[in-house]
Amino acid sequence: MEFASNITIAALFQQILVGLSRTTILFIVASGLSLVLGVLRIPNVAHGSLYMIGAFLAYTIATLFGGGSSGFWIALFLAPIGVAIISFIIERGLFCHLYEREHLMLLLFTFAFTLVFGDLVKLVWGSDYRSLAAPVFLQGSFSIFDLPFPRYNLFLLIIGPMVAFGLWFLTNKTKIGKIARAAAVDREMVGAVGINVSWVFAAVFVIGCFLAGLGGALVAPTQNITQGMDHSIIIEAFLIVIIGGLGNIWGALLGALIFGLTDSIGILVWPQFAIVFPYIAVVTVLILCPKGLLKSTW
C-alpha cells in the first residue's frame, strides 16, 4: 500500500486532462443510455453490444476504404449510422410491442440481445483481435510539462463538448426534443394531443443507439476491438446514468466526469487500489442522493 511519491502539479494536471478525455467516451455512451432510459423507460443492457458493434463496424468500414486516414473519418461517420439502422430494425420489429411490459421484462429482453449480439459478432467477425489505427495526424502525442498527452485524447476532449452541445440543442431547442421530453413525463398526454408517440419513441431509441455506435467508433483506435467490450462498458454506463439521474443528459455528463476523474486521479494517488475509487464514488452518491444527483425524468 504505497502512495505514489511523484504527485507534482504537472502530473496532476496531466492526469486530469487524461481523465477528461476518458470522460468523453463514457459521456457519449452514457448519454445515449440515459436518453433511452429516460424517455422510453427501457434499461437497455444491449447498449454495450451496440457500442461494440460500432467499434467492429468502424474497423470493417475503415479497412474497406483503405485503412488510412480517410478510412477512419468515413468509418467514424458511417459506423454509428450502421448501428442506428440496426437499432431501428430491432425497435420496429420487437421493442415497440413490449413498451407496456414491466421494466424487469424489458431489461431481460435487452439482455437477451446482449447474448445474441455477442455471438453474432463472433460469427461475423471471428474471435481475433482487431485493431484500428487513428489517422496519422492524430497519432503520437504532445508533451505537456514533459509528460505525453496523446493527440487522439485531445481530439476526444474536443469532440466531447461538441456532442454535449449537440444533444442539448436537440433536446431543448428542437421540436422533436421537446416532444420527447414531454413524452418522457407523460406519454398518454402527448398521444392525446395527436402526436404519434410510437414514432417519437423510435426516433429517440435510434438516436440513443447512434450515440452508442459513435462511442464505439471513437474508442476503436485506442483499444482492442474484441468481444467483451460490451460487458465492460455497460456496467460503467449504467452506473453513470444512475448517479446522474435517469434521462438527464447533464447528469450523464456529471456522472461521467466523476467516474473518469476519480479513476485517473486514483491511479496517480494510489495506483494499487485505483479500481475501487469510482465504485466508492458511485456508492457514496447513491447513499446520499438515491435518485441521482440531478433530476431524473421518472
Binding site: 505514489a4 511519491s5 476518458r22 485493431s131 505525453p148 498527452f149 487522439y152 485506442t222 474484441t226 465492460s232
Partner: protein, 405 residues
C-alpha cells in the same frame, strides 16, 4: 393448446438430443478431449493449438495411427469460465471417456482440471496456461505441461535484463495472479542476478483496462530507467497500442513477456511500437532450421496464416502422445506416463525434453527487441538471444520445496 404442444415438442427434442448423445460404437481410437476458450480474445491463441494439433493428428492417422489406432479429438469451449470448463472436462472424462485431456489458456481452469485429472487418473497435457503452479506447487503424476510458465519466463526475462544497464525499475501490470506471478518471477530473478537494481514503485490495473494513458503518464512522472510490464494475453495488444500512442516506448525502455510474439504483433501491424524487449517461445522466422521451415510451410498451406506459438504446443502435444504410446507398447495410462517422463521429441524449436521430475517440457526461450522489417506488414524480433530450456527451468530442489517435500 399451441403453447402446450410447443413445450412438449421442446422436451421431446431435448430428450432425443440426450439419447443420441450416447456413444456411437465405432472402431477403437485414442480419444483426446480438448477444453479451451474459443470465445473472445483468448481464442487468437487457442485456435493455433487446435489447428496445429489437427494437422499433426491427420498426418499421424494417415501414416497408420498409433499402435494401429487412429487419434480422434473433440473440443469443448469453456468461454473463459471455470465452471463451464470444469463441467465440460468432467463430461469429456465421464461421458466421452477420453484417454487424454488437453487444455487450457485459463490458469484457474487448468488447475481445476489438473485436480480432476489426478482424481480420475487421466493424463492432462497443459497447453498455454502460464501458471507455474501447474508443474510446481500443484504438480502431480497425471499433469504435464508442454508450454512455458511464469517461472520460466521470469528467469529468461531477468537473464536478459541483467545484461542491460538499467538500475531503477518500475513494475506495472494486470492485477491478477498471472500478472503478479510474472512480475515476481522477473523481479526476484533479476534481483538475484543483479542485486543493485531498485524498485521505485508499482502500478496495477484491472484485466481488460480500457485506457492505459493515465497509468503511463503516472509511470513517466516517476522517471524509472526501465519498466517491467506484466500483462496477460488480453492486455498485451492494447498496452502496446497505448505505448505507441503516448510514445512510451521512446521515452522509457520496457520489457513485456510475449511482446515479440506473432499473436501480439500481428494485430497491430506497422503501428506497433519499436524497441520493446520481449521473450517468447517461438518465431516462425527464427531459427531458420529445416524443421521450422517445413512446419511453417505445412501450417500456412493448411490454414493460410503464419503459425504463432500455440501451433508449436499443438504440434508437440500430438508428437508426445504418439511417441509415448509407442514407447509404452500398449494403450495404458500408467505406461504412457512412464514413457512420457524424460522423453525427447523433435520440434520446430529444436529438441525438447519432458523433464521427468515435474513433467515440465524444457522449452527454450527467445529474447528479442521489436523492429520493423522488410517484407512483413507487422514487426518482428531482432537481436534474438536463445536461452536454452535447461537454463530457464527452476531446479528440481526448488520444485521439491514448492510441493512441500
Amino acid at each position: 393448446m399451441k403453447k402446450l404442444s410447443l413445450i412438449v415438442f421442446c422436451f421431446a427434442v431435448g430428450l432425443a438430443v440426450l439419447l443420441t448423445g450416447a456413444e456411437a460404437g465405432a472402431a477403437k481410437t485414442i480419444k483426446v478431449g480438448i477444453v479451451d476458450c474459443y470465445s473472445g480474445p483468448a481464442s487468437t491463441y487457442t485456435n493455433d493449438v487446435r489447428d496445429a494439433f489437427k494437422l499433426a493428428v491427420d498426418d499421424i492417422n494417415a501414416k497408420g495411427g498409433v499402435l494401429g489406432r487412429k487419434i480422434e479429438f473433440v473440443t469443448r469451449d469453456s468461454k473463459f469460465k471455470v465452471d463451464i470448463g470444469l463441467s465440460a472436462a468432467k463430461e469429456l472424462v465421464m461421458r466421452e471417456k477420453v484417454d487424454i485431456l488437453m487444455g487450457t489458456i485459463n490458469s484457474s481452469l487448468a488447475l481445476a482440471i489438473s485436480n480432476l485429472a489426478k482424481k480420475e487418473k487421466i493424463p492432462f497435457l497443459v497447453t498455454f496456461s502460464k501458471s507455474a503452479k501447474i508443474t510446481g506447487a500443484k504438480g502431480h503424476r497425471y499433469v504435464f505441461s508442454i508450454t512455458e510458465n511464469s517461472a520460466l519466463a521470469g528467469k529468461a526475462g531477468a537473464a536478459g535484463l541483467a545484461k542491460k544497464p538499467y538500475k531503477k525499475y518500475w513494475i506495472a501490470g494486470d492485477d491478477y495472479e498471472y500478472g503478479h506471478a510474472i512480475a515476481d518471477g522477473v523481479w526476484n530473478n533479476l534481483k538475484k542476478m543483479k542485486p543493485e537494481v531498485k524498485l521505485l514503485g508499482q502500478s496495477w490495473w484491472k484485466v481488460g483496462e480500457p485506457d492505459f494513458t493515465p497509468y503511463i503518464t503516472a509511470i513517466l512522472a516517476a522517471k524509472p530507467d526501465a519498466v517491467i510490464v506484466a500483462t496477460g494475453g488480453r492486455d498485451c495488444v492494447p498496452f502496446l497500442k497505448a505505448a505507441k500512442a503516448t510514445g512510451f516506448n521512446e521515452r522509457v525502455p520496457f520489457y513485456m513477456h510475449t511482446a515479440t510474439e506473432l499473436s501480439t504483433l500481428k494485430p497491430l501491424g506497422l503501428n506497433a511500437p519499436e524497441g520493446v524487449i520481449g521473450t517468447s517461445n517461438y518465431f516462425f522466422y527464427y531459427p531458420k532450421t529445416k524443421e521450422n521451415q517445413v512446419f511453417v510451410k505445412q501450417f500456412r498451406a493448411a490454414y493460410n496464416r503464419y503459425p504463432a506459438v500455440g501451433a508449436v504446443y499443438g504440434f508437440m502435444a500430438a508428437d508426445f502422445i504418439k511417441k509415448a504410446y509407442e514407447k509404452a507398447g500398449k494403450i495404458n495410462t500408467e505406461k504412457f506416463i512412464d514413457a512420457l517422463e524424460g522423453m525427447t521429441v523433435d520440434t520446430p524449436v529444436g529438441k525438447v525434453t519432458m523433464r521427468a521430475y515435474d513433467h515440465q517440457a524444457m522449452l527454450p526461450m527467445f529474447m528479442g527487441t521489436t523492429k520493423k522489417a522488410e517484407g512483413y506488414d507487422f514487426l518482428i524480433a531482432t537481436d534474438i538471444v536463445t536461452i536454452p530450456g535447461k537454463d530457464v527451468m527452476p531446479s528440481v530442489a526448488e520444485i521439491k520445496k514448492a510441493r512441500g517435500k
